[in-house]
Each structure stands twice: as C-alpha cells, then as structure tokens.
Amino acid sequence: SAVISQKPSRDICQRGTSLTIQCQVDSQVTMMFWYRQQPGQSLTLIATANQGSEATYESGFVIDKFPISRPNLTFSTLTVSNMSPEDSSIYLCSVGWGTGRDQPQHFGDGTRLSIL
C-alpha cells in the first residue's frame, strides 16, 4: 500500500492559535480524507480533500475552522484554526488505495494535538 507521512506527529498549542498538519503520500492517489478522533471516541470524518477544488466537509465541520488544501495528488494540509481545548484530538489523514471499485482507506500515523 501507499506510504503516508503525516507531520507533525504531535504538538502542544496555545488556545487561539492555528496549526497546519501535512499529509504526504509516496504515490498519486485520487481520494484523500481528514479525520478527527477525540479522546475516548472513534474516528469522525472531517472532510474529503479534493484535488484542484474546495474540500467537501461533513456536517458539523466548516471551512473557516478547518481549511484544507490539496494542491496535487500526493499532498494535502489541514489547518485547525483558532484552537480551543475542545480541539484536543488525534487528527488523521487517509487515502483510498486499491484496484477495485471500493478502495480501502489507509491511514497516516496521525497528529496528536493538545490545546492548553
């Protein structure tokens, strides 16, 4: 499967600041996604990162809070803006990888974010 590199792996930030998380894939992929995993919770899809166009956000997530870039088929960024302690979570990028109609998603190592 594709090698997915995500950075930073962890960070501690002050409330009110913003942090940009990067996701780099070693192959061109069509589908890239961003997830959030709050403490003790399962994964929730934030948005689908679309190459060359605006990301598609899930209900409850907005572009002003989580702007996403996807400049090419191997790279995407997620920014967590104006952070508050409620944003403390693990943020994960994933890519669809496979030859079939349905492609399993494979995940990067995640970014553990703590807001003070």
Binding site: S42, L43, L92, G98, P104, Q105, F107, G108, G110, R112
Partner: protein, 114 residues
C-alpha cells in the same frame, strides 16, 4: 442517520483464547464493510468485505459479512498479546456525487493477558 454498533465494547481474555467481535450497521447506500486494528494512533487495515457469506482470512484472523442481517463478525483464534488493540468496524457508503465515506463504530477494546 447512519449507525454502527460494535459489541462488546471491551473484552479481556487470556492468551490462546478465541474471540469473536461483532458489528451491526444501519447505513444508507452501503457498499462494503471494513475492519481496522488500532494500537496507537493509526488504524491498520485488516479486511474489506463486499459480498455476503464469503469469509476472508489472514492468518489467525477471519471475518464474514451478513448483508441480510446487516452485521459482520471478526474472529481471532489462538490470541496473542500482540492482538491487544482497539478493533474498528467501518461500513463504506456512497456519499455526495458518488464519493465514498467510511462510518466508524466506537470500537472494541481487546486486551490479551499472558
């Protein structure tokens, strides 16, 4: 609204035991069901099940989908301490403009004691 329920939420067994993890789902535009293992941060892909009744196996792990009952099970035989992890069930559904979306269950936390 999509719904994925995994049971049990937590399971503690001894090394060598066999375990069965359950997943039931109610998802519109269902396509496939995926299982993941999460040890630290990143979930690791285990299986993707598309057809009902066909078992998929990988070593000591196996899984099967029942589309009539809207459920799936994950079996682990001869468990080892390295199997300790959270196991996530995630139906794949079609979304807007054909986009694919995973809907994750809350997971089963499996602990294998020596």
């Amino acid at each position: 609204e999509d719904k994925v329920v995994q049971s049990p939420l937590s399971l503690v067994v001894h090394e060598g035991d066999t375990v069965t993890l359950n997943c039931s789902y109610e998802v519109t535009n269902f396509r496939s069901l995926l299982w993941y293992k999460q040890e630290k941060k990143a979930p690791t892909f285990l299986f993707m099940l598309t057809s009902s009744g066909i078992e998929k196996k990988s070593g000591r792990l196996s899984s099967i989908l029942d589309k009539k009952e809207l459920s799936s099970i994950l079996n682990i035989t001869a468990t080892q301490t390295g199997d300790s992890a959270i196991y996530l069930c995630a139906p794949l559904r079609s979304g807007i403009q054909g986009a694919q979306k995973l809907v994750f269950g809350q997971g089963t936390r499996l602990t294998i004691n020596p």
